[in-house]
Symmetry: C2
């Protein structure tokens, strides 16, 4: 793999540790896409048309300057991804996902279980994003290679034909076929045989159908791949996500280190959304099995089973951003829950005592750094910052041992006993 | 400030944005020490003996390789710091803490309110760390300068004498005095006058005492500083933290861009801990008022009020790490709450269905990627990984519609109805 020569071995190992997920030991380990490097790698990885050198050069993409609003959105997306990884037993963020030592316990897991969990994780993350319906295309490198072989593609052309295939999500089969025949010099009848397969997609029934295919069923690699896919679909059904997964013979993925199952997720445009041309959708998550890759860095050359899962955080971030623009959504840049206000002059002391009580109860609270702020200024501040609750304290309230609690959105005010304030705020916050 | 010349203006502005906290607009903004740059700057900043060039060069300190265990500890510390910042209305992580535009609304806040909040935040963070008792030393740059002046220190020697003073937490007054007189050529009687002041510390009563001091009370700068400190202590009392703060005339802080109040936090060693020599304590948080610094980068040269607060995350991390070594504490590297186990062969399907139910309920769950794992292997895995609960499913349980829930620590097992499983787990997790 001469492309890898661009990076020193150590850098590649570090890169791998960011993008791979090894089910190698018994525990599940997932890689978070938290660091900027990982994000950028992930994003590039999702663009199969990029050269590998680009794949590396693009890594500092995440360093672009972000506004506080953008930071909030980004943190929310990352938070969701990370919490899903943790739900599946992931080790801490930025943790190398695997170590090269111990790699003699290889094969300690049974087939397709971690692969199925990868797809489950992907489904949980994509559902959690609430960006609409999605589909995960699945294929297998062995089925792809075997299909090329039985169709009559010379082995030397596998990679070139693969990269043409990868364009099927943007181009029609007619155009892809044209490229294969004219640019890649593939015999037209071979291209037609490929076309017959790669335009099919479906669930486990397609797997069964291909088992019966007279040509494919002669190929050992294809049979291995189909057997694994059948098992995978069994597990996906148990996980309740089979209907989100489409076996798609056109899915090729640009990176040639995949050795088994490969997958790629796309958001589906609803008829409504199709009108909003500004919302560009695309592949937002991807992964697969890379059993050969890690072995290249192992001094003993062991073949190390690995499944990888990458979330294109930067791309998801762009989609969310565009969508927010289209729908005019606002983002809060702070998490402040309560604002401490007063209509009275010389009430700083009471405000400070009160806010300390809120902070000590773990409530996120703010006040204006002024001795005598105007009430309207304080209320405007809450509206601008999206702070939901205002506590209002004044002389009359002090005398009576009460306090006013105001909802910024509804402008409703209730009067409550001073000693019930913290409990009432906590109740309201947990209800909302 | 020729030292700043080492960095381009933009880099400095970025650095500042990491370490400063501007109470400039009405909202409170805090700087997280989340990024590696910030951490490193913070750590160096806490070592007053370092030159400024070091201060910059040391920035990539946070990039050292961390084990999964170390990552967990680091994330916990950072999480605590960040959640405290958010409680005080901080904007998103890695967000520039201030922008140079708008800076014409300067002076929109009243004195000492944000300074008091900085100290409150520091107290909350240091208490939250649960590393024992702590103290925050407070002084004021104006009091320090004024004191030097009334003691007879030539203005050209202020910085040199300041840096000697900074050593008072490691050296005796006798040794510091010796350095001042022999190395810094200070007149012995001037050093003695300084010694009379810098060995004093206390609360607001010391402020009152110095107001009466015949020499100090003649100095305008000192009076300004004392007036502010008096107001600060009033607010600290309202915040309920006055007893954690010590007005300490020896606190000088190495960085000379402070213009007003300065503070520095140390953990206090209890008699017990003093025996554990391996636990090195030191300054873990610091800050102050930097009204002049930002103006240097403002084209119009506006004087911009700023208060800064830095948490020495790397140092705190070291303390926690050492302490964990001493006490032999273990760290979990995953957050998995429940393990799905079986004593039975060929039970993978049931395990997968069950674990998907747990994941979908938001429960962090794992299983072994084996068709037929041994029960003992599964239970050992839970012990090793610190997973608290095990769900055990077998043929008998299936038939009766029940399931076993086992506490890994106590080895107690209860039998519950299958349909109550998720609720029971959620109840146990929220109780613990």
């Amino acid at each position: 793999m001469p492309q890898l020569g661009l990076l020193p071995r150590k850098a590649w190992a570090a890169l791998l540790s960011q993008i791979l997920w090894s089910p190698y030991t018994a525990c599940t380990r997932a890689v978070s896409s938290h660091s900027q490097v990982a994000e950028a790698v992930l994003t590039s990885q999702l663009n199969p048309n990029q050269e590998k050198s680009d794949f590396i050069i693009k890594t500092p993409k995440g360093t672009r300057d972000l506004s506080p609003q953008q930071m909030v959105v980004r943190e929310k997306i990352l938070g969701m991804v990370v919490s899903c990884f943790k739900r599946h037993g992931a080790k801490g963020l930025d943790t190398p996902a695997f170590e090269l030592k111990d790699f003699d316990i290889a094969g300690q897991f049974d087939p397709m279980i971690p692969d199925a969990e990868c797809l489950k994780i992907m489904c949980e993350i994509l559902s959690g994003l609430q960006l609409g319906d999605f589909l995960i295309k699945v294929n297998d490198r062995r089925i792809l290679d075997g299909m090329f072989a039985v169709c009559g593609v010379p082995e030397s052309k596998f990679r070139a034909i693969c990269s043409s295939l990868d364009k099927l999500d943007k181009m029609s089969w007619k155009d892809v076929r044209h490229e294969m025949v004219t640019k890649k010099s593939l015999a037209p009848e071979v291209a037609d045989r490929i076309g017959d397969y790669v335009q099919r997609h479906g669930g486990v029934s397609l797997v069964e159908q291909l088992f019966q295919d007279s040509r494919l069923s002669q190929n050992k690699q294809v049979l291995e791949g189909l057997r694994d896919l059948k098992l995978l679909f069994e597990y996906l059904t148990l996980f309740g996500i089979a209907e989100k997964i489409s076996f798609d013979l056109s899915l090729a993925r640009g990176l040639d280190y995949y050795t088994g199952v490969i997958y790629e997720a796309v958001f589906l445009q609803t008829p409504n959304q199709a009108g909003e041309e500004s919302l560009r959708m695309g592949s937002v998550a991807a992964g697969g099995r890379y059993d050969g890759l890690v072995g290249m860095f192992d001094p003993k050359g062991h073949r190390v089973p690995c499944v990888g899962l990458s979330i294109g955080v930067e791309r998801i971030f762009s989609i969310v951003e565009q969508r927010m623009k289209v729908f005019g959504e606002k983002v809060r840049t702070t998490e402040t829950q309560v604002f401490v206000a007063t209509p009275q002059k010389n009430f700083l002391q009471e405000r400070l005592k009160l806010i300390a009580e809120l902070w000590d109860a773990g409530i996120k609270a703010e006040l204006l750094y002024k001795n005598n702020p105007k009430l309207l200024t304080q209320l405007h501040y809450c509206e601008n910052m999206g702070i939901p609750l205002v506590v209002i304290i004044g002389e009359q309230e002090m005398k009576e041992g009460i306090i006013k609690l105001r909802s910024v959105a509804s402008k409703e005010e209730v009067t409550i006993k001073r000693e019930h304030l913290v409990a009432e705020i906590q109740k309201r916050l947990s209800d909302s």
